[in-house]
């Protein structure tokens, strides 16, 4: 791409950069002239949806982002939350949807690499990762190839880098046929007095480039990530970014070593639109200008133009402002780890972003305006239509339905996926995938641990984005609670279609409102996040998918609950149940997966009830009374019980509920419910005390059955042998992948 820098900018060139003519006019007005080609590239990178959040900013501002423990909310590489004892957890989630569709292995790998970099850029050593994945219908021709590549890529990067992957989601739906979702989460631990930010301070200081060399990778990638796919997708392919976890691992060690020397004043990783976004951010935040000399940038290809260098998305690179008296010390660290280290510029006091190349000034732009003056849209939106009311409930034998659901793509064990991830590295994994949340011990502390979960139910969001947004938050909060953790804070990854369509914009607006309301009620602030729009192909959007990634703190992991039944002859309580135990079949898996019907409202989330119930369950765990805990979500009571039985090999017998419809009882997806088994003798007065406490808290916690045996007996239905359940549950994924 050797377009000369002084080429006449035409309407076509502007459009190819994803800028509207109004946006281009605004650029001209801001800089008082026509931009040159490099400058246009810089603006397009800064002003695309991915970097500027121009369609979502107005709504993101409404989310609760503060709390007593929040040290840093959205706006930095990752959110930072205090966990006591001078330590903080640093976390974020980010999408790599489009690249993963084009090249699943490398797309997913570089997604994981990018989120890990966000974490250690802030001075934190990564301790846990999760991945929330959504693929097209299992029988779609591309699906298997994409699953195989994405999972291998997530593992390929994370395993080599050395972070345990402790949770995630995998879901299939035809609505993702042309746009898969790869949302990667990472969390790290840092000392609260050693958190690093991107704000540069001080004039005339060296701007240093670290890590891998710059190539033409992904030039135009951020622009692509913000564009809708059409049939010409093949032509939009930029050079694919290839991940190098070995370099990233060295970059991690080198950065942490360097940070410990006190040399780092500001640091920013190079993600989308690498050098451009990172330099502008450091300067603009610090009220400084930045001058870069591109002749100093380590490159791995010949004849790279300034345009290409400024837009390159080569991975495993960082930009830092260093304290000049420590430059030599810093260089020594990077030489030890055999990474490139080059002083490529300096901070200035004139608030200009100046790029030098071969002795010429090839760009000179106002640095603040590049970010601050990015367009912000109040896009038109309409409230999405309500789904058709729920019709007649078709019947199916409870046992048959359980077996069918367990062996379906939705409920089949994800073992095939997570066994490809190193879930144990670090030696601190207390709960690995397969339960409600991953749990990782805080190394060096005798009792503390952190819990992680990622959740959303897109079909609920489609039916009612507001309730769906609430539900995603509530389910995440519930999963953390199920381990005994206090939910601390969350990150959100909002995946939607084209925001220029009012009905899609309406989904986004309503989902954010729902998320905001739930986060406020549950005191579960959003401290970081990511927005991925234009996930549609030929005008057909994905299901609205606002993934919520949450972090919780267990003060003492000796009192931690797990999903598997702990012993036989233990009472099973359904904590938080309505009088009929369960009723809500609108948008349920029962209707959707067994009868291909998706009408009815999704289950409403009563946030006060969630909170009361969650707090109560947590108190049962902390008191040592709860021996196993599992929250109910997709699939309702029957699936929840089956999962507890499968995790332990112990069966259960559930009392038939007189006068109730077994389909509603066992497959209703009413929210705010937990299954809790108790380690107390049923005759013990502790149980009476428990019910008394529950009643005072306004919670119904019926004793619905007892653990034991090797069958799962659901009311009047014929007993299901756990071995048969296991066969159903384990079979689908390997069979699907080996076809």
């Amino acid at each position: 791409m050797s377009i000369p820098n002084d080429i006449q900018i035409t309407a076509d060139i502007v459009a190819n950069h994803g800028l509207s003519s109004d946006e281009y006019e605004k650029i001209k007005q801001l800089i008082g002239r026509e931009p040159n080609f490099t400058e246009l590239g810089i603006f397009s990178a800064m002003w695309n949806e991915h970097c500027s959040y121009k369609s979502s900013k107005k709504w993101l501002k409404t989310l609760p982002t503060t709390g007593t423990r929040v040290i840093q909310g959205p706006g930095e590489n990752a959110g930072v939350v205090d966990i006591g004892d001078g330590q903080a957890v640093v976390f974020k989630m980010e999408s790599h949807n489009h690249p993963s569709f084009i090249e699943p292995y490398q797309g997913a790998a570089t997604g994981v690499g990018g989120i890990l970099r966000d974490i250690f850029t802030m001075g934190a050593r990564p301790i846990a990762a999760m991945n929330a994945l959504r693929f097209g219908a299992p029988d779609h021709e591309k699906t298997r190839h994409l699953v195989s590549g994405v999972v291998a890529g997530v593992g390929g990067y994370g395993n080599s880098f050395g972070v345990p992957t402790v949770g995630g989601e995998v879901e299939f739906d035809a609505r993702y046929n042309g746009n898969i979702l790869v949302n990667a989460f990472a969390a790290g631990l840092a000392d609260t007095n050693a958190i690093f930010y991107s704000k540069a301070e001080g004039v005339g200081l060296p701007v240093v480039y670290l890590g891998a060399k710059t190539g033409r990778d992904g030039v135009g990638g951020a622009t692509m990530a913000s564009a809708e796919f059409g049939d010409d997708i093949e032509e939009k392919r930029p050079t694919v970014q290839v991940g190098d976890p070995f370099t990233e691992k060295r970059l991690l060690e080198a950065c942490l070593e360097l940070m410990a020397t006190g040399a780092v004043i500001a640091i920013q990783d190079m993600g989308a639109a690498g050098l451009t976004c990172s330099a502008v951010e450091m300067g603009a935040k610090g009220g400084l200008g930045i001058e870069l000399d591109l002749d100093k940038v380590p490159v791995r290809e010949e004849a790279m133009t300034p345009y290409e260098m400024m837009l390159s998305e080569s991975q495993e690179r960082m930009l830092m402002v260093l304290s000049p008296d420590k430059e030599a010390e810093a260089r020594a660290v990077f030489e030890k780890w055999e990474l490139d280290f080059a002083t490529v510029g300096r901070t200035t006091d004139d608030l200009r972003f100046r790029i030098l190349w071969h002795g010429d000034e090839v760009a000179n732009l106002p640095i603040r305006e590049l970010g601050d003056e990015a367009p912000e849209y109040d896009r038109e939106w309409v409230t999405p239509p309500a789904p058709a009311p729920l019709g007649d409930i078709p019947r199916m034998d409870v046992g048959e339905a359980v077996l069918k659901l367990l062996s379906s793509h939705r409920f089949a064990s994800r073992r095939w996926v997570y066994e490809q991830y190193d879930t144990l590295i670090g030696g601190n994994s207390l709960q690995t995938p397969g339960g409600d949340a991953g749990v990782v011990r805080v190394a060096g502390h005798p009792t503390k641990a952190l819990a992680f979960s990622a959740d959303v139910t897109p079909r609920y969001c489609e039916a009612d984005p507001f309730e769906g947004g609430k539900q995603a938050v509530a389910e995440c909060w519930r999963n953390l609670t199920s381990t005994g953790a206090d939910p601390l804070a969350a990150t959100d990854n909002l995946n939607f279609g084209n925001p220029q369509r009012p009905e899609i914009m309406g989904q986004l607006v309503k989902a954010i409102e729902g998320i905001g309301e739930a986060c406020r009620e549950l005191e579960f602030p959003i401290v970081s996040g990511n927005v991925s729009l234009y996930n549609e192909t030929n005008g057909r959007a994905i299901l609205p998918t606002p993934t919520i990634g949450g972090v919780g703190l267990l003060p003492d992991h000796a009192n931690m609950a797990r999903i598997g039944f702990a012993a036989k002859n233990q009472p099973i309580l359904l904590v938080g149940a309505p009088a009929a135990w369960g009723k809500h079949l609108g948008q349920s898996a029962y209707m959707k997966d067994l009868f291909e019907r998706s009408e009815g409202a999704p289950p409403p989330v009563d946030l006060q009830h969630e909170r009361r119930t969650g707090d109560f369950v947590r108190s049962l765990i902390r008191s040592g009374m709860a021996s196993a805990v599992h929250d109910l979500s997709d699939g309702g009571l029957a699936i929840g019980l089956a999962e507890m039985a499968l995790a332990s090999g112990i069966g259960a017998e559930i009392t038939a509920l007189e006068g109730c419809d077994p389909v509603e009882v066992f497959f209703g997806e009413d929210q705010g419910r937990y299954l809790v088994t108790l380690s107390v003798d049923p005759q013990d007065e502790a149980l009476d005390k428990l019910w008394q406490d529950a009643e005072e808290a306004g919670i119904f916690a019926p004793w619905i059955g007892t653990t034991g045996g090797t069958d799962l007996t659901l009311g009047a239905a014929a007993p299901l042998a756990i071995e048969d359940l296991r066969h159903s549950h384990e079979e689908w994924f390997p069979r699907f992948m080996s076809n």
């Binding site: 090249e103 292995y105 190539g215 050079t239 694919v240 190098d244 070995f246 791995r300």
Partner: protein
């Protein structure tokens, strides 16, 4: 018929393996080594009526499985 498929990374695509090998060769005292790029080969036998037929079969194996044409190029040699 015997076929050999050679799969190489497209120019410009990062090759971390090649880089690490280059570094290691330097460490072992080999000087003046540059531009190391790693690729793959596949040797296989295929039933075919003639070289033409074999080539077209192997070509289709390459695009469908052996090469990732997003980042790799391939070439096919037929012998016997």
């Amino acid at each position: 018929m015997k076929a050999r498929v050679v799969v190489t990374l497209k120019p410009g695509v990062l090759d971390p393996q090649g880089q690490a090998i280059e570094g290691s060769l330097g460490g072992l005292g080999f000087t003046g080594v540059s531009a190391v790029r790693q690729g793959k080969i596949f040797d296989l036998e295929v039933d075919a009526t003639d070289a033409e037929d074999a080539r077209s079969k192997v070509d289709s194996m390459c695009t469908r499985l052996l090469a990732n044409t997003v980042i790799e190029n391939y070439s096919v040699e037929i012998s016997e």
